[in-house]
Amino acid sequence: MKNILEISDLSVSFPGPNGKIPAVRNLSLSLGPGECLAIVGESGCGKSVVAHAVLRLLPPGTEVLGRVSYQGQDLLHLSESEMDQIRGQEIGMVFQSPERALNPVMKIGKQLISPQVMHGLCSEKDAELRAKGVLRSLGLDADRIMSSYPWMCSGGMCQRIVFAAVSLLHPNLVIADEPTKGLDAANVTDLEAMLSTVTAGKSTGLLLITHDMDVASRLSNRIAVMYCGMIVEEGETRSVLSSPKHPYTRGLLGSLPKNGFVPIPGISPALSDLPNGCVFHPRCAFAEETCRTDIPDLKDGVRCRRC
Amino acid sequence: MFGKNTFIIAGIIFLTLLFTAAAGCIGSSPTDQNAVLKIATPNEITEASYYGNYNFAQITRVATPPLIQVDENGDYVGAVAKSWTVSSDGKTWEFTLDPNYQWSDGTSLTADDVKFSLEYAAEKITTAPSWIKSAAITTSENVVTISLADPVYRLFGDLVAINIVPKHIWGSIDDPEEYISAGPYVGSAAYYVQSVDTNSATLVLAVNPAWKGNAPYYGTVELHWFATEDAAILAMLGGECDTYWKYGASFPTSSVALLDSSEKFTTVETPSLKMSYVGFNTISSDAGSDLAFRKAIAYALNYDELVEIGASGYALSANSGFIPNGVPYYKNTPANIYNLATAKLMLDAAGYKDVNGDGIREDTNGSALTVTLLTRDKVAGELIKEYLQKAGLKVEYKFASDLNAWVELKDAHAYDIAYNGITAKGMMMDSGWATGYFASNTLGAGKLQNVDDPVFLELCAKIATTPDGDELKALISDLQDYYSDNMPGIALYWSTDVTPINTEIDGWYISKATGILNEINLLSMHPAN
């Protein structure tokens, strides 16, 4: 089966006061239809940058190198107007903090209808019917919601509305950027249910960006663990979680409550001040001399000398 | 048939003659209905009120002239009144009307209109003179007789300010000062006010069809007012207006240089009745009531520089007789001279010596000789302050930024020396010859009221009740001697009026009181060939 999204050698760096700050380094990924790939990692590891780089939502001045191909098209070389055709209709994105993702002074109805009309999917009338249909299927009082403003809705409702806005455009790829951040347990369950419908049709791919291992384990087929802008381990979700190869992955899993809060010693380095060689070596118990000088390649989905 | 032809030919000839005559009539008529004279002025007419607005009232003198007016020499000549006589007791005045003046709506101007106008002014206008209120006015055909309760000889100064207006129009208007109308206003002179529009800042004077005197050249005279002098002058230079007028004032002397660079305009200088002076508080000030001090100060003032800076050179150095040379009965008195050394010697001699050597003189009590200088004029005030300081005086400078403050201070006699200006109208106020500014028994915001010398007050009273003639001439001579000897005030300079003359226009007739905007000038102005 042909991959929907293929990222190869993606590097992203931001301008900083003392030169460039690398946020993502030489990242390669692929995602097939009906598949869910989770990128997990801790804050500042660059996982959200990947999501924004795909949709070209990064602020101006950011340097993006490499190739992001969506169904064979290199997104990095499209014009803005061509990109507008891709965004929403082809690739949709579910944002974190849904209350803030909706325009506070615009009625929800309009925010759901206008993108559909803009993309020429249907007439305004149909768009309204479709929007109501989707809202209803998500268990909302469609008529009331359509004529209210985002601030009148609870966080859970906003979350559904944002999801509805994305799914109404029938994208082939959905990117969920930290969708569970700051949510209550009940809302997390809700969201997982919604996201699982994305890949159910076997044609749409889901790129899940999260710091939450549990969510990743429940939703994804494959998982990629990021640390300081690099993928340190990638593979089938089940195998990575049950038998992690990379020491960082192991440490991460060990810190989880169910594994007894065993901490990784030391702290993550700042992106502007990364150590040479393997970025994890100062905190790694198995570090060797070569780890200090060379960046290990991704072998069998794992980026580590010893493993 | 022959006869018939003869008739036809005769008819043709007759008609041709008729037409020729008519054409000749039109051709010889000097009025060009399409010609427009545009006057720029900074005197804004804020509301279209014939009586209520000060600036409008100045212009109405041209359209509804008073009985008499002032000519270019400052003499009184007839306007609506052709001639007049006065009884020997100075109580009965007879004015004979000029038949040229007829109302622009076709009705004739009668003695009744004059009577009405005078009584109307007495009754309705707040600034009307007091004598008119007690006067009895009678009419007979074209003669108006004013009978006064007490003899008044300085009557004309007031009469030039009372317009003769149509009774059939104003008779029904109860409060003329509040009456507002965009025109037309029925007038009696060569022009009448056709319209006045505060939004477009334009007043239009049109030729009076009933006017029987000489026809003016310009079919229309427009007055355009501007919010600032600069804008008015720029409009002139930019070709928007033909000439400049400002009531009671010269063209701004500091801008005269600008006209010289323009090809369209030249300037005419005429001596005016305006002047600048300093007055001494002779009533409650120690130094001010000391004649020797006053005389010394007269030497301390740099008159040439005051002329140069205060009037941009457009003024004459004054005499000790105070009154400008353009005023009737002017006589030559010793000129004011600047000589600092003399001033210092005289101050020393008067007992104001700098004993302790600190550069400041002490008065007879031994304390520093301090004078309070009151002024409203930034430039002159600063100069005078400097001159006094150079003479060794300590100057307390009181700058009144508005009239209110100035009036308050001068009414309290809270000054030793005060700077002020005198206008053409002010020169004629009260007993005339500037006495109104000095006499302590007069009232008014601009007046110093700084002399209570009985000799002076008696002189003023006499002048007020003496008819024109040798006796008056002698009194005015005495007055000038009084000014020269006692120096209640020192004339700093006599202003010169500058009038911009448009080289494309001939026939200028510039009045001392009203400048170019006077009836005589409007009749005589015409384009240059």
């Binding site: 006061p17 | 600032t228 600069d230 002058i233 720029l234 701004p252 500091s254 801008s255 240089a257 600008l258 140069e308 800076i309 941009s312 930034k378 430039v379 600063e382 100069l383 400097e386 400078y397 700058f399 930024s401 508005d402 403050a405």
Partner: protein
């Protein structure tokens, strides 16, 4: 914190103006009472020529800095003082006092300033002090508002709660913890009030509502127009003070903007 190079140019300009204002004698070739020939064109003797009284325009320009800056900064300081006090009190105490103070602020906000200054100057007579007091006492409302909203935001922030837990007194928290944090938002407001006061002074001078005994840039421009400097094409008379006002205001305003941007960056982190 790193020094921002954008501060240099406006900062130096303000510094220059201040030095000139404090020590005019060091820079002015003539005193303001010296006079020579009137209406001279610029030349070697008189850098910017002379005015209607024969005074050296360049020297006047230098002496004028004092009152103009004085009016600007004094009203700015007054506004900051009142505004900060009101804002701190309203934000910290909340409740009825807050309601009252903010109501007052709203009212001051609505009062049209220039017309009020004009009517007061007409009644009280124009003096720089009237100007300072009126402009200062009418311009604090925006300062009070930002200070208040900042204080409200800060007072429930965790470091203030922590400080209270640690046993710091209210007074100490107010002056040592809150004020320094509020300070960055006051600074741009202060300079904006200062700039506005300078413009107002110049505008009132144009209406003739300035004290002729004090030399200010606005007064100089007004003089140039009163004594036909404008008509005579003496741009060297009215343009330099105009430029001084514009540059001064521009420098002050840009300091505010640079600072505000800096504040925004700091606050967002």
């Amino acid at each position: 914190m790193k020094f921002d190079r954008r501060y240099i140019l406006p900062g130096l300009l303000i510094l220059l103006f201040l030095i000139v204002a404090i020590f005019p004698g060091m820079f002015a070739p003539y005193s303001i009472s010296d006079r020579t020939a009137t209406y001279q064109a610029p030349g070697a003797d008189h850098l910017l020529g002379t005015d209607n009284m024969g005074k050296d325009i360049f020297s006047l320009l230098i002496y004028a800095a004092r009152w103009t800056l004085m009016i600007g900064f004094a009203s700015g300081l007054l506004a900051v003082f009142v505004g900060t006090a009101v804002g701190l009190l309203a934000g910290w105490r909340r409740g009825a006092l807050d309601e009252f103070l903010m109501g007052t602020t709203d009212i001051v906000l609505i009062l049209p300033k220039i017309p009020l200054v004009i009517i007061l100057a007409a009644y009280l007579g124009p003096s720089p002090w009237v100007l300072i007091f009126v402009l200062g006492l009418l311009s604090w409302e925006s300062i009070a508002r930002v200070v208040r909203s900042k204080v409200i935001q800060i007072r429930s922030s965790e470091y203030i709660l922590a400080a209270r837990c640690l046993g710091f007194s209210d007074c100490r928290i107010m002056f040592k913890e809150i004020l320094p944090v509020v300070f960055p938002v006051i600074v741009p407001k202060f300079v904006l009030v200062t700039a506005a006061a300078m413009i107002s002074e110049a505008s009132l001078a144009f209406l003739g509502l300035s004290d002729p005994q004090t030399v200010s840039w606005g007064g100089m421009i007004s003089d140039a127009f009163t004594y036909s400097g404008f008509l005579r094409g003496m741009w060297y008379w009215w343009l330099p003070p105009a430029l001084c006002i514009i540059l001064g205001v521009l420098a002050i305003t840009s300091l505010a903007f640079i600072h505000e941007r800096g504040v925004r960056e700091v606050m967002q982190l």
